[in-house]
């Protein structure tokens, strides 16, 4: 919002203290933005819960769909790339390999797509009620976690079936998922306001996501690519996250420090641009509707 927001949540208990100053221009820093999101996390949870409730309202179909989708995709990829193309996966059974990649990729792409559409989707609310709109692109990162959790259970089951137990490092998996969700949120911060003005972004996005999947080692390992091109994956933040995930789950080698450095740079850059872009376009979006 283009105004400072002092102790609005603490005000719930001691209401006398909540004071709001409404101003045309703001000098909000990244830290203010992060603070805004953190203070209002309750709202993000509620919104996410609402999404989940709606998605699984017809619970049988909802949960079944979350189960069937990764299973079928894994099956198809295993048939094509495991049996026909025979992509080498360093001794890891292909279904386990591909599902571990798909799980991450599908979570990431769902967050990016849904959070880019979040402002358009919630037009009705943002023009009628005030709340920090920065939270809207964050909601998919929370709600999509349910589908991902279901896929994760399937993956663990597959790993047991194929006799590839997870490494002890798997306790770091939640952090990786968090980082993936945040990265998607950052991209959503950039794209959601632009999408509200130019709806074609929403149409073009799935296509780019599709391309993105082939540029990321989801269905093949980095080692499958000729060595002289492997450095390109360093530049892909999702590739780094995914390789780290495979390292902690399946015992693959960890990515290099350089890859982590670039990942951090990407994240910082995306959030700096994201917050600026969002704050700048936000008032225009509300006034357009």
């Amino acid at each position: 919002m283009l105004e400072k927001n002092k102790a609005i949540q603490e005000g719930a208990e001691n209401k006398e203290q909540s004071q709001v100053i409404i101003r045309p221009q703001s000098d909000l820093t990244i830290l203010n933005n992060i603070h805004d999101v953190w203070v209002n996390r309750d709202i993000a949870w509620t919104l996410a819960l609402r999404e989940i409730q709606i998605r699984y309202k017809q619970s049988v179909i909802g949960v079944a769909w979350a189960l069937v989708q990764p299973l079928i995709t894994t099956l198809i990829f295993t048939l094509i790339f495991g049996f026909l193309v025979k992509i080498p996966t360093n001794g890891i059974p292909y279904p386990v390999f591909v599902l571990s990649g798909l799980l991450f990729w599908q979570y990431f792409s769902k967050v990016v797509v849904e959070s880019s559409g979040s402002l358009v989707k919630n037009e009705g609310i943002i023009t009628k009620v005030f709340f920090p709109r920065l939270l809207l692109p964050l909601v998919p990162a929370l709600s999509a976690a349910v589908d991902m959790g279901i896929a994760l259970i399937i993956l663990l089951a597959l790993m047991l079936i194929y006799g590839t137990p997870p490494t002890p490092y798997i306790i770091f998996l939640p952090f990786l998922l968090l980082a993936t969700g945040l990265l998607g949120y950052g991209i959503g911060l950039i794209l959601s306001p632009i999408n509200a003005i130019y709806r074609d972004i929403g149409i073009a996005l799935p296509f780019f996501i599709q391309i993105g999947m082939y540029l990321t080692p989801v269905i093949y390992p980095v080692s499958f690519v000729p060595e002289k091109y492997q450095w390109l994956f360093l530049l892909n933040p999702v590739a780094t996250l995914l390789d780290t995930a495979r390292a902690v789950m399946l015992g693959n080698p960890f990515p290099s420090l350089a890859a982590f450095g670039i990942l951090l740079l990407w994240t910082a850059l995306i959030f700096i641009i994201g917050f600026r872009c969002f704050r700048k376009l936000e008032p225009a979006i509300v006034d357009r509707i």
Partner: protein
């Protein structure tokens, strides 16, 4: 005692040419990131836009427990002011300080999700208004009881009638005990009983020391409820007094003077595509009628425009409101598929106002125009090109037509009587 609301010199500028605004903002963003400003575009863009101030230099202060009514004609800036105070939109100028939580109710079913049940929506709305779960829980029964929708609380909102939605929305807003309550014309929906219940509740709320800002075209409820009243005109504050009756009087008087039978362009309104020049009521021969009309009289709405660029998407029309400023309908010359497309030059758009439709009373006719699918020129929110239409002396159409019907319109419709065979 420090004021609970302090509004100083608030101004809000809208850019009417929305298409141009979009391009401009994206350019702004790209420009500010890469500081590669396209000078040609930057020079060109202001011409594409028509700026208009929905609010100009509005200042006032409110103390706790005050109930402020805001009145003014359509487009006077009332809703814009409420939107700024409830932080939905930001002001272009000035500053406002609110010392307390704000609960705003700007439209029926605000923020309700159609798929979720009433119960889930109460929690959802409560959280958005800044309450913790246990705080909502503590008030839940009271909210439901007041709204009178107990039986449907576990039914999805999409099955609610608009009246039920409104009851629940009002009930949530009123029971969450915000220090400042902002309400925009929502009472229009409920039945009389519920309206009275709401007014009673708002009295309770204000007597418990909380502050209410209330916009309504219903001057009766303003008079009943408010202990202070503001009259907005063209975005500026014309009157502000604790003497509510006085402000209402001023408003009605202004309204009388303002709402003439003919509107013409004083040279202050101009678009790239058209210049609206005149709006009036005429008879069949095109003679202006500057008097109340009779319900069965055939009259025409006449709009004079200078069409500067020919466009297949140009739509010129009018909106008509009843005495309470509720929209009855609006109509564009382009409503018909085979409607004629105006050439360039001075064009008269003329539309027959259906006779035997309107009840006795006062109506407002407002000129609206836009380039369809592209951008609006004069919208129902901002168009000040308005004239008054007074309908009088509804004739008794048959010996069985009894007295005045208390409906907005009183159409005389065709009936056929035939034998069943």
């Amino acid at each position: 005692m420090a004021p609970i609301i302090q509004v100083s010199n608030i101004g809000k500028k809208y850019r009417v040419n929305k298409a141009a605004q979009g391009q401009d903002t994206l350019r702004d963003v790209i420009g500010s990131f890469f500081s590669r400003k396209d000078k040609k575009h930057a020079a060109k863009s202001p011409e594409n836009m028509r700026e208009f101030w929905a609010l100009k230099d509005v200042s006032f202060e409110m103390n706790e427990g005050e109930v402020l009514g805001i009145i003014g004609r359509n487009g006077a800036g009332k809703s814009t002011l409420l939107k700024i105070l409830s932080r939905i939109t930001t002001p272009t100028k000035g500053e406002a300080m609110l010392n307390g939580r704000v609960g705003s109710l700007l439209e029926v079913g605000t923020g309700f999700h159609p798929e979720l049940t009433g119960r889930e929506n109460v929690y959802f709305n409560g959280t958005i208004l800044g309450l913790r779960k246990h705080e909502i829980k503590a008030r839940f029964d009271e909210i439901v009881a007041f709204s009178g929708v107990e039986d449907f609380i576990d039914t999805p909102i999409k099955r609610y009638s608009s009246g039920m939605k409104m009851r629940l929305a009002f009930s949530v807003a009123a029971h969450l005990e915000p220090e400042i309550m902002i309400i925009d014309e929502v009472l229009a929906v409920g039945d009389i009983d519920f309206q009275n219940k709401c007014i009673g509740k708002m009295r309770d709320v204000s007597s418990s020391g909380r502050t209410i800002i209330f916009v309504s075209h219903n001057l009766m409820s303003i008079r009943q409820l408010c202990n202070r009243c503001i009259f907005l005109e063209n975005g500026t504050l014309k009157e502000d007094s604790k003497d509510v009756a006085h402000v209402i009087g001023q408003y009605l008087q202004k309204d009388e003077q303002k709402n003439q039978f003919e509107w013409f362009n004083k040279g202050d309104l101009d678009f790239d595509e058209i210049t609206p020049e005149r709006l009036r009521i005429t008879n069949k021969e095109g003679k202006p009628i500057a008097r109340p009309i009779s319900a069965d009289e055939e009259v025409f709405v006449e709009i004079h425009c200078n069409v500067k660029t020919k466009s297949n998407y140009l739509s010129v029309g009018y909106a008509i409101y009843d005495h309470a400023q509720s929209l009855i309908y609006y109509s564009y010359h382009s409503d018909l598929h085979n409607g004629e497309k105006p050439e360039q030059g001075k064009i008269i758009f003329k539309s027959r106002l259906p006779a035997n439709i309107f009840n006795d009373g006062e109506y407002t006719i407002q000129l609206i125009a836009g380039i369809m699918h592209h951008h609006a020129l004069l919208t129902r929110e901002n168009s000040l090109c308005q004239i008054r239409l007074k309908v009088e002396g509804n004739p008794l159409r048959s010996s069985l037509w009894i007295g005045n019907r208390h409906t907005t319109i009183t159409p005389v419709l065709e009936w056929n009587i035939s034998n069943e065979c």
